[in-house]
Amino acid sequence: MAKALREASLKPTDVKVVAFSQGPGMGPCLRTGATAARALSSYLGVPLVGVNHLVAHIEVGKMTTGARDPVTLFVSGGSTLVTAFAAGRYRIFGETLDIPVGNCIDVFAREAGLRPEKGLPVAAKVMKLASQGRELVSLPYVVKGMDLSFSGLLTAATQLVNDGRHSLEDLCFSLQEYVFSMLTEVTERALAHTEKPEVLLTGGVAANERLRSMLRVMAEDQDARFCVVPREFSTDNGAMIAWTGVLSYMHKTTVPVEQSFVRLRWRLDEVEVPWVEDEDAD
């Protein structure tokens, strides 16, 4: 906090509101942040704002890319969902029916014996190996409406690693092609359904070049603008909570300390977002 204040050239007394991630997520992590935020808010005597971290990912994405009313694909180790704004909330059009996509790739990588190296997560290694793959190995392609399922695909890909008939490069290549095609297909369907003008990609998996290129091509074909959130704002970060806190605060949605309990399973579509303008009333 001291460093943040120094970098922003501010004093603690300049702070007018304290925002914190109220959910969804894992209890111990959320409670740590919430405890600090409550203490700070009562010490400084300023209001507290509880932010939904999924909303924050979308808001910081819109702010950093200039997107106004996008279909958002949020892909990380903890979430996989396709969402767009309608009538006061971010509505969920599609999501994973079992495991999140980042989790699918990470587990595959670990099963394949890949280990993270200094500064290089295993998913980046999968991406690198995939770029050397040539032969597409058949895997289950599971899209249901705009929902997705990755667990069968993960099991199949893992078995293929163990059975050793294909090179790891080909398997990484195939895994990426299948998984990202599925994601692009449901995003395209949501785009066609909502007729929104933009596609916004965010979350940790947004770092993947192949996913970006697929979505870019799809957006072009649908006459939509493609936006990717810069890496420092696409994984979990404090700035997105702060920014969404500001938006909430301007619409007077503060939370009293005694009601500021964390919400482990706080769904994105439960949150009213009064700062987003309704472009069409119905």
Binding site: L97, K144, E177, E185, M218
Partner: protein, 210 residues
């Protein structure tokens, strides 16, 4: 004449042996590698007419298939006159809406009791004809399955579609669909599938790292 360019296919209204038909042509996707693109197109083009025929045999209205052209990934089918349920649902009186949803529920029950899951149940894929018949479209993602999981997902998709597109009447409409479903499937199967939907929804919520 192109009448709809969807995400997955273009629909053309054509004349075919002096009959109004729909030509559904699946689109090639530049974002996919060609092998995968072809595999998906072929699978869906081959699969959709088969399931449509099974659904029709089971007494669920769906377009008559006239011709399948695998090379072109195209299907020629009956042109169904009417409006999408998506367009009419919000404007109906409550009583009519509940009645319509109950009928939809019965038809979904009929699909499921015949081992068919639609795979893309939305109000855009249901047509209400001028004579009041409900016709099911777009079986491209459907499958033959009697599994509870598959049925649960199917109804979960319908519920999701209602929540995202018909949020004002979503709860009531889904309730009516499940009433109709229960009439066909019986109490036990209906309770089981409701439990499954609940489980699926909890699964889709926030999943922390394993």
């Amino acid at each position: 004449m192109l009448i709809k360019k969807g995400a997955e296919a273009s629909l053309y209204l054509e004349e075919w042996h002096s009959r109004k038909v729909i030509l559904k042509k699946r689109l090639s996707k530049r974002y996919r590698v060609p092998e995968l693109d072809r595999e998906i197109q072929l699978h869906r083009t081959r699969h959709e007419p088969q399931i449509i025929n099974r659904a029709r045999k089971a007494g669920v209205p769906a377009p008559v298939i006239f011709m399948v052209d695998l090379a072109e990934a195209a299907i020629v089918m009956e042109f169904v006159e009417g409006k999408q349920v998506k367009q009419v649902l919000n404007d109906l009186q409550q009583e009519e809406r509940v009645c319509l949803c109950r009928r939809i529920g019965r038809l979904i029950g009929r699909l499921h009791s015949n081992g068919i899951v639609h795979g893309d149940l939305t109000t855009s894929n249901l047509i209400l004809t001028p004579r009041g018949k409900i016709v099911f479209l777009d079986f491209g993602l459907s499958e033959q399955s009697g599994e509870l999981e598959a049925r649960g997902v199917d109804l979960h998709l319908m519920k999701r579609a209602l929540n995202s597109t018909h949020y004002r009447h979503a709860r009531e409409s889904f309730g009516a669909i499940m009433e109709g479903y229960r009439e066909v499937m019986g109490d036990k199967a209906a309770e089981e599938v409701l439990g499954k939907i609940d489980e699926i929804e909890k699964r889709g919520r926030y999943i922390s790292e394993r």
